[in-house]
């Protein structure tokens, strides 16, 4: 039982591991690990380990059936590398979730210390959750928010202590029949975040969760449910990393958001999984009357990402915004996009999607904007920009506009370009080196997204992009 860290570079002869700051892994010391592969027994084991009520187990088993019946998606990225039988579906790293950082097991704490989580909490955040493999190991919320009735915990905790909220909302935004990976998640979900913000409560500083995978050939299936009651506000931030293992891992989360009338929810995530992670995530929000939902989505890591944060504008006057950036470097495929469904009058949506491709990386935008017949005053604006850094980079844009109402204003625009020689020349004529000039132009390109992030995340994102950009200009 050595606590010695194994440098990731030694595990993987591939050069892309070297740049990945989060590539270290701790020796695996799970308390409970399910057998490899997926079976009813594994699902029962997961449910049993959590002492779940029978209704949740029944729901999981139903989802397992759905998973078995549903085909793999016939479109999008190449998923042939996933072997569902070669994955650990559950790994419990410690006895229970704690609320004091000192009580987190030492090795797990070391991981998060290296990622800088506790400092972040002290300085900037109202609450932090940290998930290590399958379970949340740490959850804390500032006392003034607890007093106001804000709930921030693991979903397991919510199943046990707030079954009324779970029963009312769990699986209503994304039913297990939605797609194969949503079914998989529903069957084997473990960990994630549960947030409830009561009527009129304004959570001024963001809540954060951090997800970390430490076990080889592991599947992380966290489940997040955010319910924001009438007139309330919350900003939730999520970060993800994993060590670089020799075998591919799978991350398949489901995130459901319900913004009740007049509520506003902002969900920001920067995904920086290691380059051998399949990241197949279903994220969807319901926005009721005059509610606002904002997704801010950064995809830097992973081998393959398929992620299309969706907003269903269910109530009159609802508004949805999606701002995203994807960086596809060598060997990466970032297949991202957005789905906005206008189901009510006076609803509006804005989508800003930016992507950067480099060294054979593929970035794709898939989008759907739909307006049902009979609706009045629908507005939607979509802008997709792709930047190609090297001649072997690839980008695809596949938007769909399905408009069935005559009182609609729908605009879509997409542009593909490289770093312009003129801009480079201008900056270089002012004495700026070529590489730095390229970086400045890229920073300008992603600026609309960066502006949406809290300062320390913006700095982190800029740094990550800088790292990815190394040696790409000139």
């Amino acid at each position: 039982m050595s606590s010695e860290m194994i440098p990731a570079e030694n595990q993987l002869g591939d050069d892309f591991a070297a740049d990945y700051k989060f590539g270290f892994s701790m020796p695996e010391k799970s308390l409970l690990k399910s057998a490899k592969g997926l079976s009813e027994e594994v699902v029962r084991q997961i449910s049993g380990a959590k002492n779940e009520p029978s209704w949740m187990l029944a729901y999981r088993l139903k989802a397992l059936e759905t998973f078995r019946k549903m085909p793999m998606p016939s479109w999008g990225a190449d998923l042939s590398g996933i072997d569902f039988d070669d994955i650990y579906y559950y790994s419990k790293p410690s006895e229970e979730s704690v609320t004091s950082w000192d009580d987190v097991p030492e090795e797990i704490r070391k991981t998060y210390d290296r990622l800088g989580i506790p400092e972040a909490e002290k300085k900037f955040l109202a609450g932090v959750g940290a998930q290590y493999d399958s379970e949340m190991v740490y959850h804390n919320l500032q006392k003034n928010l607890t007093d106001k009735g804000v709930l921030f915990s693991s979903p397991e905790d919510a199943v046990a202590n707030h079954p009324d909220i779970i029963k009312k909302y769990f699986g209503t935004v994304i039913p297990h029949t939605d797609n194969k990976f949503a079914a998989l998640n529903t069957a084997v979900w473990s960990g994630g975040s549960f947030i409830y913000v009561p009527k009129g409560v304004h959570v001024d500083i963001p809540l954060q969760a951090y997800f970390r995978v430490n076990t080889k050939s592991f599947g992380q299936f966290e489940r997040t449910l955010i319910v924001v009651d009438e007139g309330a506000f919350v900003h939730y931030i999520e970060g993800c990393t994993a060590p670089v293992f020799t075998k591919d891992s799978l991350h398949s989360a489901v995130v459901e958001i319900i913004a009740l009338p007049g509520a506003r929810v902002r969900y920001s995530t920067i995904q920086n999984w290691s380059n051998n992670m399949y990241n197949l995530v279903t994220k969807r929000a319901f926005a009721w009357d005059n509610a606002t939902v904002e997704w801010v989505d950064g995809n830097i890591g992973s081998k393959v990402t398929m992620k299309y944060p969706a907003i269903f504008l269910m109530g009159k006057g609802a508004h949805g915004e999606v701002t995203s950036i994807a960086f596809a470097n060598k060997g990466q495929e970032q297949d991202t996009g957005t789905k906005i469904m206008h189901f009510a009058d006076d609803t509006s949506s804005v989508v800003t999607a930016k992507s950067i491709s480099k060294s054979g990386g593929i970035s794709s935008y898939r989008g759907l904007i739909k307006a049902n017949p009979g609706l009045r005053n629908i507005r939607s604006k979509v802008e997709c920009d792709a930047l190609l850094l090297t001649s072997d980079s690839k980008t695809n844009t596949y938007p769909i506009m399905d408009i069935q109402s005559d009182d609609v204003s729908m605009e879509h625009e997409a542009k593909v370009s490289k770093i312009s020689e003129e801009q480079l020349l201008y900056l270089m004529s002012r004495g700026i080196g070529e590489e730095e000039a390229g970086m400045m132009i890229v920073n300008g390109f992603i600026d609309p997204l960066v502006k949406q992030l809290p300062m320390e995340y913006a700095v982190e994102l800029n740094r990550l992009i800088e790292l990815e950009m190394e040696g790409s200009v000139g």
Binding site: I400, M401, A414
Partner: protein
């Protein structure tokens, strides 16, 4: 490069992206009797100097011919498919090779009749060629083909009209194939005014050579169900394609248009502008793909699709797509869908027009830039067709097809 053996083609189902919004069953390709080519006894039409040549087909038979003798002397070929067998053979094999489903290959397996325009190198035909294809038969599948070959640095303009009377239920499975030599300049306009029960399927392609220019204009106005596809390949360095389309969906019409612009050589330019309007229970689909191959550096491509929804419940789908495999490019697309601008309507009502009139004028105005691109001798007719489609002239009773 190894080429995998082509697996046998199948009928496209709902999983085929291109056919997701239209069912191939509506064309009855497998069940309708195929029309038999009929012996032609064409009448020589009086020479009209505003045309380089004219061909009229009725029910698959060539009925009228007119051809500028000066061009005939310069070895320009303009006639039925038998007039230039080698050109037709080459084009049919290109069409077969490009087919990806039975729906796109079926035309090439049973071409009924058609026309060829072949212009030798460095010959310029200034006046337009006109091909009129009229169909009166009912309960048949007809498959007209038009093949165009332009030699190096040659020039030509071709206008193709497809029409049939209202009430005739039949399927047309047509194709136009265009091969342009280096430096050739070709202008193709297609006006389709089939009757309200026709099923119209078309798979056309163009291969554009080095520094060649292709101007394309189309107006698929008629038909009950329409599915067209035009694949433009910018094969030679410096080649350019400009394509314009205007389309409408009225009553129960279903129209699904697809264009693809494949940039397969450096310094190529493409521009596409498609505008549509829908009303009643109609549905239109526009799919427009810009594809840039790794070799096609310095590509400049732009595609725009604008849809006007005139009445609630009509449906317009817009699917512009970009597939870019190299970085030294300038590619963009834009798509807008909406209704007539209410401020403009208000302005016109203050000038004494009714709201309804104002809406129709504005809608007509949106199509003006596309009407301007139509061949001069068709402009008045196209303007009238546009006015009928958006409902402006319907009140005058001048839009009824003769039964």
């Amino acid at each position: 490069m190894t080429v995998a053996a082509k697996s046998p083609l199948t009928w496209p189902g709902r999983t085929n992206e291109e056919w997701q919004r239209s069912s191939v069953d509506r064309f009855l390709l497998a069940s309708l009797p195929v029309a038999k080519p009929a012996p032609s006894q064409p009448q020589i039409l009086p020479r009209e100097s505003e045309f380089s040549g004219r061909l009229s087909f009725i029910d698959g038979k060539l009925t009228g011919v007119d051809f500028d003798p000066a061009l005939n002397k310069q070895e320009v070929i303009f006639g039925t498919l038998e007039a230039a067998p080698s050109v037709v053979k080459d084009h049919v094999s290109r069409g077969r090779a490009a087919a990806d489903t039975l729906a796109s290959s079926s035309h090439y397996e049973r071409i009924e009749f058609g026309a060829v325009l072949s212009v030798p190198a460095r010959v310029a035909a200034t006046a337009p060629f006109l091909i009129e294809i009229t169909e009166n038969r009912t309960g048949v599948l007809t498959t007209p083909h038009i093949a165009v070959f332009l030699g190096e640095a040659s020039q030509a303009t071709l206008v193709v009209r497809h029409r049939s009377p209202s009430g005739q239920k039949f399927t047309v499975d047509s194709a136009t194939t265009v091969v342009l030599g280096d430096g050739a300049v070709f202008n193709l306009s297609e006006l389709q005014t089939h009757g309200n029960r026709a099923a119209v399927l078309d798979h056309s392609l163009a291969v554009v050579g080095r520094d060649a220019q292709f101007f394309h204009w189309c107006a698929p106005i008629g038909g009950a169900v329409v599915k067209t596809r035009f694949d433009f390949t910018l094969a030679g360095e410096g080649s350019s394609v400009k394509t314009h389309g205007l389309y409408f969906g009225v009553e129960d019409q279903h129209k699904d248009l697809r264009i693809s612009l494949t940039h397969a050589a450096p310094h190529t330019t493409s521009y596409a502008l498609y505008k549509g309007a829908v009303r009643d229970r109609a549905r239109t689909v526009f799919q427009g793909l810009i594809e840039v191959k790794p070799v096609a550096s310095q590509t400049d491509a732009y595609l725009s699709n604008k849809n006007l929804i005139l009445t609630d419940g009509a449906r317009a789908d817009s699917l512009p797509q970009l597939k870019i495999d190299t970085n030294d490019v300038k590619c963009s697309h834009g798509s807008t869908t909406g209704k007539v601008n209410e401020e403009e309507v208000y302005y016109l009502t203050t000038r004494g027009f009714s709201k309804e009139e104002a809406r129709l004028f504005i809608a007509q105005g949106l199509f003006a830039e596309l009407i301007d691109e139509a061949p001069a001798f068709l402009r008045d007719e196209v303007e009238h067709l546009v006015a009928c489609a958006i409902g402006a002239d319907a009140a005058l009773g001048s839009c009824q097809d003769p039964e």
